[in-house]
């Protein structure tokens, strides 16, 4: 119980209100309103997080709605999971907002941007600390709205507007599932509070597996899992800080967090767990495969994000609750770093196509170094953050005995380090390919957050490493419940070799002069085509979902026009004719009565109004006359 907790989301909400109403007046000061609110939230949250780390547990709730004996409660819950996310969101969010002041400096809708960011922060923080599905869902939807608004922030561009619409509609599919899941849970007798979920599961209502799968739909939509992953690459049309904050570090992680919150439910049903594992693994592999050939710097990172989210989902599906959460946290830091670095590169060069970059290392030292650290982290090179968390996931798969998945994940990890270093080498090393681009280093307000995030990317994995005796995992599970595994050298070896192998291969391909990329592409033409066309997902959707819908729509439209409108028109004509008759009746019969009444009243009032002249002096005279009359009356008596 901490009275300050509700302030954490409310401060950014207040900043949103201020910026949306007074943003025009504030101008560039709007940024400081938002950053101030986030910083204050962070300052409130950090002591609480440390208290949670020390074993505290904050929760409070109040009845919001009474539904025939059962009720919906609103409240907050600060347990290790939400504390972890709170830590990530407040710190990364604040840093990204600071970065945005530099990135968005020239934008005419500067204050609007920060208003949206603040609204997003408020929603995300609400989601993190909420203790029930309803509040969670509300925050979830507000985040969806913010995502829509921010992807389409430059709505003058058609591509941005379309991407925003695509993101919104695609996630909506998942959200509908999620909401149905919540309702199913409610039908199954749950109070919808996370803490009561275990009891609900124990009751073993037959619809619970369906509820789990439906809730997983929400994750698929929000966390861009196969087959609803198509919106995330397009979402890169938004400003880069948005990509970093929403589409890499926090919002997409909310889907994973949803599974974490509902883990008790999933755990109870093998089918659900298998489904989660399958989807996660497919997503991880497929996205990594597409990333191999992507040429847009942000798209590479987007597919990488999808892939890493697939990792987390897989881990959760295999029962690795702590592994998934751990990776969620480390990924937030290094992916935010990578996106911000990408943003810095875009800011400096003005292009997003890595084929036009090259040799930027000397020109953008800070960006390059931090980007390199981020890439090493994601590639899983020890002792950086990504290594520890990815190793945990691989270990989970290994210990689950699910070797196909383990192999797939190892392959994916290899591909990850390959495509990341393909990106690094093409961007920062070699020679400049386009001589029209004059790169320059970004301002300190952008490189500062980069360095902070880089340092975090190096060290944030350590609490989960064996050096700290897997403190983080213990923290998540409640100290004492977590059995510490001995180090599994097979997994460590697989992991390190996958990471280093990918890096070396990339170095051979893209630093050497062998022209390997073209050769490999022509050698494996079908696979290359599959990757560059992203498994034809967009085309399939367009042909088999959008087109039929449009067809049905057109059909319904013509039905509307020819049948229903005609009926309406006929009805109208009939009414017209009827009313013509009524008009005649009204005019000559009913009006006749009315007019007679009126004339009669007028006749009477013409007599009566002689009393009421409207002149105040006549009334005055009448008053005095009455006084005189009363006096005379009094005298008679």
């Amino acid at each position: 119980m901490s009275p300050m907790t509700p302030l954490i989301p409310f401060l950014p909400l207040a900043a949103f209100a201020v910026n949306i109403f007074f943003g025009r007046k504030l101008g560039h000061k709007a940024a400081w309103v938002s950053i101030g609110a986030s910083t204050a939230s962070c300052a409130i949250a950090l002591p609480l997080i440390f208290q949670v780390a020390g074993g505290a547990h904050f929760a409070a709730s109040a009845r919001w709605l009474d539904l025939g004996g059962r009720g919906l409660d609103f409240g907050y819950l600060l347990d290790p999971f939400s504390a972890t996310l709170l830590f990530v969101v407040t710190i990364v969010g604040t840093l990204i907002q600071i970065y945005s002041t530099g990135y968005m400096h020239e934008d005419p809708r500067f204050s609007r941007f920060f208003a949206y960011l603040s609204l997003f922060m408020a929603a995300m923080l609400t989601l993190v600390i909420s203790d029930n599905y309803i509040l969670f869902f509300m925050a979830w939807e507000i985040m969806g709205l913010c995502s829509y608004l921010l992807i389409g922030f430059w709505f003058e561009k058609d591509s941005a507007a379309n991407a925003a619409r695509k993101a919104f509609l695609t996630t909506r599919v998942g959200d509908v599932g999620f909401f149905l899941g919540i309702m199913t849970l409610f039908v199954a007798g749950s109070s919808l509070r996370f803490e009561d979920l275990a009891a609900t599961v124990k009751a073993a209502h037959p619809v619970l597996p369906a509820a789990a799968l439906l809730i997983f739909c929400g994750t698929i939509g929000k966390s861009a899992q196969f087959p609803l992953h198509v919106w995330l690459p397009d979402a890169m049309e938004g400003p880069t800080p948005v990509s970093a904050l929403i589409h890499a570090a926090t919002m997409v992680a909310a889907g994973v967090f949803l599974i974490v919150r509902s883990f008790v439910l999933f755990e109870a049903y093998d089918a659900a767990m298998n489904m989660v594992t399958m989807i996660g693994a497919i997503t991880a592999f497929m996205a990594a495969f597409i990333a191999l050939t992507a040429t847009d710097i942000k798209k590479v990172l987007a597919y990488s994000t999808i892939s890493q989210l697939g990792f987390m989902v897989t881990a959760l599906g295999l029962g690795g609750l702590s592994a998934g959460t751990f990776h969620l946290m480390t990924h937030a830091f290094f992916k935010a770093l990578l996106f911000l670095g990408a943003g810095s590169v875009i800011h400096g060069t003005g292009t997003q196509d890595i084929r036009e970059m090259g040799g930027l290392f000397t020109k953008m030292k800070h960006t390059a170094w931090t980007f390199l650290i981020g890439s090493l982290a994601i590639a899983g090179v020890p002792p950086l953050a990504g290594f520890w968390s990815k190793d945990e996931i691989l270990l989970t798969a290994f210990e689950a005995g699910n070797f196909p998945i383990f192999a797939l994940l190892c392959l994916t990890a290899f591909m990850t380090s390959f495509y990341m270093f393909r990106l690094v080498f093409m961007t920062f090393f070699g020679k400049a390919r386009n001589h029209h681009i004059h790169a320059h280093e970004s301002p300190a307000v952008m490189t500062g957050p980069l360095w902070v995030l880089a340092i975090a990317s190096v060290f944030v994995g350590l609490p989960g490493s064996p050096f700290f005796n897997h403190w983080f995992q213990g923290f998540l599970h409640g100290h004492g419940h977590h059995a510490v595994h001995p180090v599994n050298w097979i997994v460590v070896g697989a992991s390190i070799s996958a990471g280093l192998g990918g890096i070396s291969l990339a170095a051979v391909f893209y630093l050497g002069q062998g022209g390997f990329p073209q050769k490999v592409a022509s050698a494996f033409r079908p696979l290359y085509t599959l990757s560059t066309n992203k498994f034809w997902f967009d085309e399939i959707y367009a042909k088999f979902i959008v087109a039929p819908f449009n067809g049905v729509g057109r059909m319904l439209f013509s039905f509307d026009q020819k049948v229903i409108d005609a009926a309406v028109n006929r009805t109208g004509l009939a009414t017209l004719n009827t009313s013509a008759f009524k008009n005649w009746f009204d005019k000559y019969v009913i009006d006749g009565f009315v007019n007679f009444t009126g004339h009669f009243t007028q006749l009477l009032s013409a007599l009566l109004r002689l009393m009421q002249t409207g002149f105040v002096q006549h009334y005055l005279f009448l008053i005095f006359l009455s006084v005189l009359a009363l006096m005379l009356l009094e005298m008679r008596l």
Binding site: F615, Q617, L620
Partner: protein, 103 residues
């Protein structure tokens, strides 16, 4: 000292003169003037009564007179403000020409 009844008759005369003016005058300012006469008749009565009252009760009448004077001044101020506002809108201050809401 002149007897109280003479003062009362004097103020009664002022009263009826005021009444006559208030009813008969067409000019609204004239009506206000007549109302001032009526108020003065009342005020005079109060002071006259106080002068003929017992010791200790005398302040009441005088204070009533002062209050009446204050209220009369207030009424005149508001009344004349209304007259001026009216004149600005209607260009007349004859009471029987201001008949827009008559019927």
């Amino acid at each position: 000292m002149i007897p109280l009844s003479h003062l009362l008759i004097f103020s009664a005369a002022l009263l009826v003169i005021g009444i006559y003016g208030a009813v008969v005058r067409r000019n609204i300012v004239g009506i206000l003037l007549s109302i001032e006469l009526i108020l003065n008749a009342a005020a005079l009565n109060f002071t006259a009564f106080s002068r003929f009252a017992l010791a200790g009760d005398q302040e009441a009448g005088v204070i009533f007179t002062l209050f009446i004077i204050a209220m009369a001044a207030a009424a005149a101020a508001v009344g004349l403000a209304i007259v001026i506002a009216l004149f600005r809108v209607r260009k007349t201050i004859m009471s029987d020409e201001i008949n827009l809401l008559k019927w």
